[in-house]
Symmetry: C2
Subunit: 446 residues, 2 copies
């Protein structure tokens, strides 16, 4: 192997994932050389604090606080610092200096993907970020390459392990959100400040990235409707379970049906893409329903391929490092072979649709007065708004002496637009027989 050229690798950040990447680069150098066709030499690791404790013991001489200088002299730059700045500036500097960049920075790619890609194209270098979505699961590359001759129509992803763990706990133990969150924090699945996970922001970044690659159009975080799981109650989960559903936080990107037949171009005038994150009811027999704990999975529907699912570990140092290394080897191969692969095709012009244009089924829970004619009143009101009811079930709760405590009405609708549903729910609220609307949740996979 002595005749192989050597490529210089700079690593920015040395947290969980970074430390594992460094370990692999150092320990598996021969294997990596045989895979890449070049030796990959780790020339430096940029960190904020030289003396911070690391997951893995690494040679002290590799560490530097001068990221700026480090990236200017590398063939391959791995950015695992997270956050927008200085990550953004360092990546741009690296690419302008001719380095291929691998990053796991979902927030940055979702926010500023167009700028980064433009710069990569201009510099003729590869920019890849498999680790940014669903950890170890190869998903971005299959979408970009394997499905490049097909038309993806819908993507449903469980892309946040923290929320999946919490919902799974609530489902299996009947716990309330706060207790399940505390348990997740205790086990290290949730951070001290869990906002980014539980409010869906992390999943929203991933949704923007998945939508961009799936529909060959660049969507940013601003195009994503986002609703987290903090308002999901144990009662919601129990009611869903009772009706044969499980509640998952899904990242969804789907092309809405065109009025006419598609023209075979990417423009598809009249269609648009709805990109959204929200708690979603899934039938228990749906392949995504079986994704438990902190695992991730992405379910894809394509015109010719049909249904595909990709499943694996969505986080963690080693799994995420595996994805980083796959990108790194591919980038190294492209350098060895001369010239980059084109990373994305973005000839598409489909527009992002507002949440009001989304079309899905809904689950609605109502606390109603137990009077004759209530069901008829409510059914009529749904019909007037053009929302068709698929299932309506009333449960009467009685107290010890058999007087009625409350009546609970659960409705699952056929597919309807968010706008029509919202108008229906508003109207329902003003009915005198309604005590309260206890939950409104979207349903997929039926």
């Amino acid at each position: 192997m002595t005749e192989l050229r050597t490529l210089k690798v700079a690593l920015l950040g040395c947290g969980n994932v970074g430390a594992q990447v460094a370990r692999i680069l150092l320990d598996d150098a021969d294997m990596l050389a045989s895979r890449a066709g070049a030796r990959l030499e780790l020339v430096g690791i940029a960190v904020r604090n030289l003396d911070a404790p690391r997951e893995v013991e690494l040679p002290h001489a590799l560490f530097t606080t001068d990221a700026e200088t480090l990236v200017k002299d590398a063939d391959l730059v791995i950015e695992l610092m997270g956050g927008i700045e200085p990550a953004r500036t360092l990546i741009l500097t690296a690419m302008r200096n001719g380095a291929c960049v691998v990053t796991g920075n979902k927030a940055l790619v979702a926010k500023d993907g167009p700028t980064l890609h433009e710069e990569a194209d201009k510099a003729g270098v590869q920019l890849s970020y498999e680790a940014a979505v669903a950890g170890a699961i190869p998903i971005l590359r299959p979408i970009r390459d394997s499905l490049s001759g097909d038309r993806i129509t819908r993507v449903l992803g469980i892309v946040n392990g923290t929320t999946n763990f919490i919902l799974d706990q609530m489902d299996s133990t009947g716990a309330q959100f706060a207790d399940a969150l505390a348990e997740a924090q205790r086990l290290g699945y949730a951070e001290a400040d869990p906002t980014a996970d539980v409010e869906g922001y992390d999943a929203a970044s991933k949704a923007a990235i998945l939508a961009s690659l799936s529909f060959h159009t660049r969507f940013s975080l601003d195009d994503v409707y986002c609703e987290g799981i903090s308002s999901v109650t144990a009662a919601d989960i129990a009611a869903a379970k009772d009706a044969g559903f499980v509640i998952k936080l899904l990242a969804i990107a789907e092309k809405l049906p065109a009025a006419g037949r598609e023209t075979g171009t990417e423009t598809d005038a009249g269609t648009g893409v709805s990109v959204r994150v929200h708690p979603t009811l899934l039938p228990r027999e749906h392949p995504l329903a079986a994704v438990r704990g902190a695992f991730n999975a992405v379910f894809i529907e394509a015109e010719n391929a049909g249904e595909l699912m990709f499943y694996g570990q969505g986080a963690g140092g080693k799994p995420t490092a595996s994805a980083v290394m796959g990108d790194l080897i591919s980038a190294a191969r492209s350098i060895v072979l001369g010239g980059p692969g084109r990373a994305e095709t973005t000839t598409g012009q489909v527009s992002a649709l507002p949440i009001t244009a989304a079309v899905t089924s809904y689950y609605i829970g109502l606390d109603v007065a137990d009077q004759p004619g209530v069901l008829a009143k409510i059914a009529r009101l749904f019909a007037e708004h053009g929302v068709s009811i698929e299932i309506m079930r009333q449960t009467i709760h009685r107290d010890a002496d058999s007087t009625i405590e409350s009546a609970e009405l659960r409705i699952v609708t056929h597919r309807a637009s968010e706008a029509a549903l919202a108008a229906t729910v508003e109207a329902v609220k003003s009915l005198d027989v309604i005590n309260s609307v206890t939950s409104v949740l979207r349903v997929e996979g039926v």
Copy 2:
């Protein structure tokens, strides 16, 4: 798009998959051009019979019986004829003339992969065959690219829809093999001559391909131990079900544990790869156990990535065409960008192990005499052969007047070598208390 160059595409074969590929090339030309960066012009379809009925209506002028001339004037050749010859000669001719080749021919790739790859390398063209394994599921490219910086330790695949459908039928209805096969034939899931599917030969080809890519070493069909499902009985399935297992025909490729620690090179002296196809018991909670009907799935274990699963449609015209088109677009991009990607790294030197070296758990069913001391005798015999018993369960069947009809003993072992197990089973047979060995099945995923 007028400034895009045009690449000539030749199609060999026009069965289910070929007809769908032709349709996509003709109907979605603009989309494909935007994805590939070049227009893909279908210049001809080579068939044996010009007037055979086709799944899709296609321009008559495209058809020819002269495959030889067709492949010599193409930039991209898609081979979907199947069989060894003339497919092999045509592919070699195409590559020698500078064309990139996409094929779905698992039998040919499994039999003669080394020759084909050597020729592709020599000609500097891409050779790809995603459609050859698990239909629409992107699996070969993820193994080759996404997992290129990781070490795969094991691959378990449900890669034959016919046998999965039959086993699923047997499991859900209690049917015997012959009846489930007849049902599969009636529904078009099994061919009139089902030998290649039910005896595992189709899965064995796929196992050889999966093993080659996963372990960076070229394995051929001769390296694969193969056992089909025709001897699996309804009683086997029922007994497995009773014990919490499902029986699947699995294609397995796994690196056997090294005596010492791996050295970081691909050579891994002292280790080897066991490549095999056989009916296998899987715990019902294993992700592969839920793969129903004619679906396919591949479960991968890698050192850093951990457990991954890829799921989707394993056959059918449109799904398989999707995989062909993904390869075609990638090959076209490589031509547009100049120079091929290296398709495989095959620096590995791990050897294929004989089935006797495989190490797994076993399920053994015995028809035994109901005498005191039988269990002790059998347990001692297993111990003498170094095969450790995990579960031993005796079921006594009585007839109407309560006399004992038979006693059935079911044993699940801990992991043991095939050689040790075979010796144990031979010894058990000669015990006077044994009426017969009713089944010996391998167990994975425990």
